[in-house]
């Protein structure tokens, strides 16, 4: 028998090089745009240039007559093909307003970029040229962009039939909350605005749809959610899920913006069915700024109540959250993803959180890296510093005093944190930081009135991820479950195939999942192949978002591996003629207790399982097991981050000098990949603090329409990060928590706290997001005059 060798190394905890990179770094990946099927037709969308306008007529004659055009359609032309609107899976309250949302607008365009017609041509360029010839007559209507103004009396309504711009009000409050607030020695309230962020994945969105001879449909989509997209496609187009195959090939980043059922995917299928040809669409970069969901756009008012010694007794948050013009897949639920952590890593006994969802004439918002938790953490950590100033207490001491110390810990919001050690995380951060030296430099610069001042800011956060226990999701009105599934399959000659229901798009699951299985089954990491992103191979899963793939999908995988070992044990016991209990299992080998030379490898058992010559009576041949894991709890990464900034007080120019991050993400499966996630996440948080702002004027005209005006930072603007970890095991078989969002959640408040610290001697207490040179300069001018 030529079976694979027993591995002598173990892999979990080591920085195995990413299996994905051999193709991705050499430009040999296969993204949706790399696929060209025979007879493909290309789609271009005609989009409203107005934030809000009645569509009086759509004239397609000139476009239809243009070179290379296959056909052109208005929303009305296609309306009969749609059995339902683009779904929103999270109606957060019973009386939420859910206006219909179809792939193309028919009567009224409600944001700049809303699709009103589609042209299909023989090439992408011809489609784009012909789209310019579509004559849409618009009657511009009054429109509104800001959440606060949208709620004022007489504000223009985004959906006139709804009668209000208020989408929902959601509240979570503990008993006797008001009494706790009244009893406090100190009450601090601060108001914050977190602007829009435009996700900007390197790969823009893309789709190819093909209809087979029996009406079966294949959709290649740059998506994070092939399974959910399949489900949604039945809802929109009425095609049974059993006839739909969704493939997410290599996907170049998503950050939540590809957790979505987009108009273009459904249009491509609609047109492929009508035309009998594959239909392809690739988003243009400037198009992505209006047509792909945005993140954030939230106004907060946060209140802490505390005793004079700095014990926080209550937290209250009120937030007004922009939905945009329509509800996308989980738009209304995004704030709720932060709703339970407005107490952060602190033991705060009284709790009140209210969200008001608001329609505005803007691109819909939805989950963007961190989703709800960066929003909560930002206001919390900024207000921690404000409270420290109010109490004249050191911000670190205030944090330490209020940390949760014992685990498991049930928060006032009702959820239970299984594990953590917040003092240890912050302690390690302080060791790395050398705060005394920073404070000495700061004092010297203040003393000499140096125009370049420095400041240091902290953010100690915790995070609720590993989405999510299905029962809890049901209780908070999310439409589907939060479990995931995995299959582990021994091939006859001892290599292993793993099929997962999660859908990576840059994270490196082909590597980390292989590491876990390799250790568990005692095979080499290169003998484990991870299949994903195709509904034909992974029958069901809940896809990738919310730092869930390892903490949920990874546990399903582990459980499937345990089932494999269980079945192999039966085979080995049968063949060695011992009781199952008499076998020890370690690193791919079964050994008879007390007889170290009586052994059988799991790969031999795999071969025996496939040969089926000599299996226990009644046992099915083969060695393949599937497990489905529904997590009993969320997972709870946490950490302590610090930023050091230098501010040019004459120009407001602010540069990050150091960034130190200590995170506790549970067991580290692959430290290099964790560092990569932390670096990327931290960069997105810093970007929100210093660079990126999706800006609208009051009417809803987007001002940041290209990458020259929406400032995604590059390595040139950033220092090398200093990262470290502590590990407390999560309450699951692998001890893992998730790391996809930690950096984004932590970074923005650390940076702004540092900017405020740099200017605190001048009297500055707040700088708006992002801290542009002009905002910083104005903050200084305001306290000077």
């Amino acid at each position: 028998m030529a079976v694979a060798e027993t591995a002598t190394e173990t892999f979990v905890g080591t920085s195995v090089k990413r299996k994905e990179d051999a193709s991705l770094l050499r430009g040999r990946g296969t993204y949706v745009d790399n696929l060209t099927l025979p007879a493909t037709a290309y789609m271009a969308i005609v989009r409203s240039p107005y934030p809000r306008a009645r569509i009086t007529s759509v004239n397609l004659d000139a476009a239809r007559a243009a070179e290379g055009v296959v056909s052109a359609f208005s929303g009305t032309d296609l309306a009969d093909d749609w059995k339902g609107g683009l779904p929103c899976a999270w109606p957060v309250t019973e009386d939420i307003k859910m206006p219909p949302h179809y792939p193309l607008a028919t009567d009224e365009a409600r944001y700049q970029g809303d699709g009103v017609a589609v042209v299909v041509a023989e090439s992408r360029a011809l489609a784009k040229d012909a789209a310019e010839l579509v004559g849409v007559e618009y009657e511009p209507l009054p429109s509104i962009a800001g959440v606060e103004r949208a709620l004022e009396e007489g504000a223009p309504l985004v959906h006139e039939d709804v009668g209000t711009n208020e989408c929902y009000v959601w509240k979570l409050e503990t008993d006797d909350f008001s009494a706790a607030l009244d009893a406090a020695d100190v009450v601090v309230t601060r108001r914050y605005f977190q602007p829009r962020l435009i996700p900007s994945a390197i790969e823009p969105r893309a789709v190819v749809a093909q209809v087979g001879p029996t009406g079966d449909v294949t959709i290649w989509s740059a998506t994070q959610i092939p399974h959910i997209l399949r489900f949604a496609t039945q809802l929109v187009l009425g095609i049974p899920e059993s006839k739909i195959r969704v493939i997410a090939p290599d996907v170049g980043g998503g950050f939540g913006s590809k957790v979505e059922v987009y108009a273009e995917d459904q249009l491509a299928v609609t047109l492929a069915r009508r035309l009998g040809r594959p239909v392809k669409w690739t988003e243009e970069r400037a198009e992505a700024h209006v047509a792909t969901i945005h993140g954030r756009d939230v106004v907060h008012e946060l209140t802490f109540a505390a005793t004079n010694d700095g014990t926080i007794t209550a937290v209250k948050s009120e937030a007004w959250c922009a939905m945009g013009a329509y509800l996308q897949l989980v738009t209304p639920g995004v704030p709720l993803l932060g709703a339970w952590i407005y107490s952060g890593p602190y033991a705060i006994p009284n709790y009140s959180v209210t969200f008001t969802g608001v329609f505005t004439n803007t691109t819909p918002t939805d989950a963007y890296r961190g989703a709800g938790r960066p929003e909560a953490t930002y206001v919390l950590e900024r207000t921690m510093d404000a409270l420290a100033r109010e109490l004249e207490m050191d911000p670190i001491e205030l944090r330490q005093k209020n940390f949760v110390k014992e685990f498991p810990y049930t928060m006032a919001s009702g959820l239970t944190i299984d594990a953590g050690d917040y003092d240890a995380t912050l302690g390690r951060l302080l060791e790395l930081l050398d705060l005394d030296a920073i404070r000495a430099d700061q004092a010297a610069r203040r003393e000499s009135d140096d125009p370049r001042q420095i400041g240091v800011g902290f953010s100690t956060y915790n995070e609720m991820c590993g989405l999510a226990p299905s029962r809890i999701l049901g209780a908070i009105r999310y439409a589907v479950g939060g479990w995931d599934a995995a299959t582990v399959r021994f091939q006859p000659l001892g290599s292993v195939q793993v099929v997962v229901g999660t859908s990576p798009h840059g994270q490196g699951h082909e590597t980390t999942f292989a590491q876990i299985v390799a250790d568990q089954l005692g095979v080499d990491v290169d003998d484990v192949e991870v299949l994903h992103g195709d509904t034909a191979s992974s029958q069901q899963g809940m896809d990738t978002y919310g730092s869930r793939s390892l903490a949920v999908g990874g546990i399903a995988l582990w459980n499937a591996g345990e089932k494999i070992i269980g079945k192999a044990r039966k085979i080995v016991a049968h063949q060695l003629e011992v009781a199952e209990d008499d076998l020890d299992y370690a690193n791919g080998t079964f050994t008879v207790k007390g007889s170290p030379d009586r052994t059988m490898g799991i790969r031999e058992a795999a071969f025996a399982a496939h040969a089926a010559h000599d299996l226990p009576d009644g046992m099915e041949p083969g060695l393949e097991q599937t497990a489905v894991f529904d997590p009993p709890n969320f997972s709870w990464p946490a950490g302590a981050h610090a930023a050091v900034v230098e501010v040019d007080t004459e120009t407001g120019d602010t540069r990050l000098v150091r960034y130190v991050a200590v995170d506790d993400v549970g067991t580290a499966v692959n430290p290099m990949i964790i560092d990569g996630q932390v670096h990327g996440g931290v960069t997105q948080g810093i970007a929100a603090a210093l660079f990126e702002e999706g800006a609208y004027d009051e009417e809803g005209n987007l001002l940041t329409t290209t990458m020259a005006t929406y400032l995604v930072p590059s390595a040139a603007e950033l220092p090398s990060y200093e990262t470290d970890r502590i590990e407390t095991r999560a309450d699951n078989p692998l001890g893992v928590k998730g790391v996809g969002e930690t950096g984004t959640i932590a970074a923005a408040p650390a940076v702004i706290n540092a900017v405020v610290d740099a200017l605190s001697h001048l009297g500055v207490t707040d700088v708006g997001l992002p801290a542009t040179p002009e905002r910083v300069w104005k903050a200084i001018e305001e306290v000077r005059t």
């Binding site: 784009k128 400037a286 800006a695 005006t709 400032l711 930072p713 040179p773 002009e774």
Partner: protein
Amino acid sequence: MIPAGFDYEVAESVEHAIELLGNGEDTKLLAGGHSLLPAMKLRLARPALLVDVGRLNDLAYVKEEGETIAIGALTRHKDVASSPELREHCAIVSYTAGHVGDPQVRHRGTIGGSLAHGDPASDLPSVILALHGELVARGPGGDRAIPAGEFFTGVWQTALAPHEVLVEIRVPKLGAAGWSYTKMARRAQDWATVAVAAVVHGNGSVERAAVALTNMGATTLRATAVEKALVGGASIDDAAALAADGTEPPTDHMASSDFRKHLARVLTRRALEEASRRSGRRARGG
């Protein structure tokens, strides 16, 4: 990001380029493409014909000619930045070219394209203006030299005729004059929010200076009030306070008009301080 349809011709020589340009109507020269192609991809520019001069290597040079340095219009920013002649004799040009955009931009973009594009946010126009440089244009009738002070006429507008090719840029050797290009930009790849080019004569102090402002109006601008004040004996601080006088800078996503005025004053002071420190000795730099 797909441009509207266009025709494309490769010029084999400057004369060929002039021939292909014809009367210049609906036709654009293509050099490094780093200003023109983005505009075309956004369909803000829709030329019917592109004449590619990017392969005219005989227009890529830096030469010493007595007290003048001559730079071929097709010289890439990175070659300007590393030119030994410029680093020795006119380091403000090489230094500034090294701070245009990012490495990709500097490897494709040309000094001629930077000037001919007439973008008030570009860096090199202010430098050439502060140096009293000259731009040499060639048309069907031959060459003419245009002083930098007359070259920039409006946003994306210059004194070049549509049928002319910019072939050379001529700048004086700096000798003992001090220089500074002080630029504030959000990201490495961004254009200046505001920048200041200063050339200072004096010996560790300022006797006379030429100061030009980037992104403070429809074209690069001479800060004449500052220059006059300095000649009249004003201190750097007092002179720099006049930097925004008479300017009408734009308001955009990077900064408001008022903030730009403030920055012009601060950056002018810093530029004059740096330039005066460098004056009176033969400064090498870049």
